[in-house]
């Protein structure tokens, strides 16, 4: 199968700042690919390299096998949903969506028909005459989506498109985006700093850190077998155990990750190690208990039905041996 997007040793340096540094990447055609990372990790720059708003300082980018080094953004069959939506305020919704066909020289009747079709796709059928300023954040987001899809791009880029929406709307849009991607079969490349969003939506995800990709894999792979302490900590706030502690628990002398939900708290002396409860955080569906084991803080998730220990209590910690993931690359 062809890859929709391939990066070969792609770098984007600004003077001494290495926004993106020698990144290799393949995004499979028809997949929902998430780029996850903290701000400043290079994920947005990577997206802008695909759209053409940034030029690589080194390396080669291919879109469906074609080298796009000399192709300006307007000639790439890639469209973007911008973080701030970037809707044209002086045009109504219909003209915004019909903008792509308009600059391509499509006649008025045909491009308006296309725009209406796209607006129906995002469930905004009757909003064509409104101005972007009269829409809510969620509606603007849909218009931006319709506008980006009207050109029938082969790759759709989404730059933190749900960041400005409130939680309920964000969850609804996540489901909708996922369904839309399945239906259209277009490759979606999605930038986010929200690990839950990346895990729940993506087929494949790349975790970025300091201009490099720390790990690429399916959400389950990345979540269960993080490659580096950074990935373990960033994706799902896993416990990162120092080499000495890992060895003490029966693993190799290397960094390891241990998911909070894999830990069970038992009476002191009955577990694999003992510790003191330092703090409790009530999460609704359970409580997150911080246990200090020597100098290391270990977080455990106690489900709602069970009694959580009180702060200051001495407890034992246990888990299935398979839950301890030793990170080879550290």
């Amino acid at each position: 199968m062809t890859n929709a997007v391939t990066f070969h040793k792609v770098s984007r340096h600004y003077g001494k700042v290495k926004a993106v540094d020698a990144v290799d990447l393949s995004i499979a055609e028809g997949s929902f690919f998430a780029m996850l990372g903290p701000s400043g990790s290079g994920k947005t720059t990577c997206l802008r390299l695909i759209s053409g708003f940034e030029k690589p300082t080194a390396g080669e980018i291919r879109i469906f096998g074609q080298d796009v080094s000399d192709t300006p953004p307007n000639r790439r069959s890639v469209n973007t949903v911008f973080q701030d939506y970037a809707l044209f305020p002086h045009m109504n919704v219909r003209d915004n969506v019909a903008y792509g066909p308009m600059v391509a020289g499509v006649g008025k009747a045909e491009r308006y028909a296309k725009a209406e079709e796209m607006l129906a796709l995002v469930k905004l059928d009757s909003y064509g005459d409104r101005k972007p300023g009269q829409l809510s954040g969620g509606q603007r987001q849909r218009v931006a989506l319709a506008r980006a899809l009207v050109n029938e791009p082969r790759v759709l880029l989404l730059d933190e498109p749900l960041g400005a929406l409130d939680l309920k709307l964000r969850e609804a849009m996540q489901d909708e985006l996922k369904a839309l991607q399945k239906r259209l079969g277009i490759t979606f490349v999605f930038v986010t700093h929200d690990q839950h969003e990346a895990l729940s939506m993506a087929d494949q995800l790349a975790v970025f850190n300091e201009g490099k990709i720390a790990q690429i894999g399916s959400p389950a792979e990345v979540y269960d077998r993080p490659a580096t302490p950074f990935v373990a900590d960033f994706v799902g706030s896993s416990n990162v155990l120092p080499p000495a502690l890992t060895a003490q628990l029966g693993g190799a002398t290397a960094w390891a990750s241990l998911r909070p939900e894999a830990i069970r708290l038992v009476a002191k002396g009955k577990g694999k190690m003992n510790g003191t409860v330092a703090a409790l955080r009530y999460l609704g569906a359970g409580s997150r208990v911080s246990v200090m084991v020597g100098e290391t803080e270990i977080a455990a998730l106690v489900p709602a039905g069970e009694t959580a220990p009180e702060a200051g209590a001495e407890v034992g910690i246990t888990f299935d041996a398979s839950a301890l993931h030793v990170m080879a690359g550290s």
Partner: protein, 312 residues
Amino acid sequence: MSRGAILPNRGLADRLSALFWRRPTVLLLLLITPPLLWLGVVYLGSLGALLLQSFYSIDEFSGVVVEEFTLKTYGELFRAANMDIILRTLTMSASVTLASAVIGFPVAYFAARFARGRWKAVFYLGIMLPLWSSYLVKVYAWKLILAKEGIITWAADSVGLGFLLDAVLALPGVGGNSLSTSFIGTWLVFVYVWLPYMILPMQASLERVPVSMLEASSDLGASRGQTFRTVILPLAMPGVIAGSIFTFSLTMGDYIIPQIIGTSARFIGQAVYQLQGTAGNIPLAAAFAVVPIIIMLVYLSLAKRGGAFDAL
């Protein structure tokens, strides 16, 4: 010791703040009454007086103003000689505005899009600096620059382009003996003097266009030219219109530049100056003064109908 829920009063300033908090309208009235009085009485009042004067007429024998309502004075505007003045001023204002917009746009665009930090300061200084020196000094400096013995003629001659200058000056209607005694000269100086008033509002409006909007346009397939026509220009239009209000009305009202540089043909400003001074024909001067106001109103309503303010 416990602290009370209400902090102690520190004097007059606190009492005033409290009053403004309880009665926000008091503050509002205090703030807008003086400017409203100024606008209402001094400005609108004198405008009303001007309008009133324009409906009077002058007794041709005695030269006394007859204070009776008549449209006769406005009728006089349509006499060939007066119509010439109006059309000449209108053409000059329109061409000065157009040239200022064309020259000013790239400058404003550069300043809004690319100039940062120190370069921004250089931009503002460069645009504002000419405004700090006296208007008369600048106009007389231009007279020297444009004169037959001036630097432009000299430079054109010394690089062998004198024939080009002669050809330009030989153009019918706008040419003349030298640049300083031609309409081209008047136009050049008008453009120079009013250009900052065009650049600054354009720059302000261009600065408010987010980069992502230009990227979105390009992302959707637009060429640079299409992005300019369909996104940048419409969004910058309120600034262009604001700038053109300045250049247009300043050119229409000016009587000094055409007096010093150009031909003996008169502009509205000069006509008003002479009619109210030497000729003592206040009603006709008033009628002339109303012309730019009407032209501006027509211009703005056309701009509005053309969608120039859609982006606001």
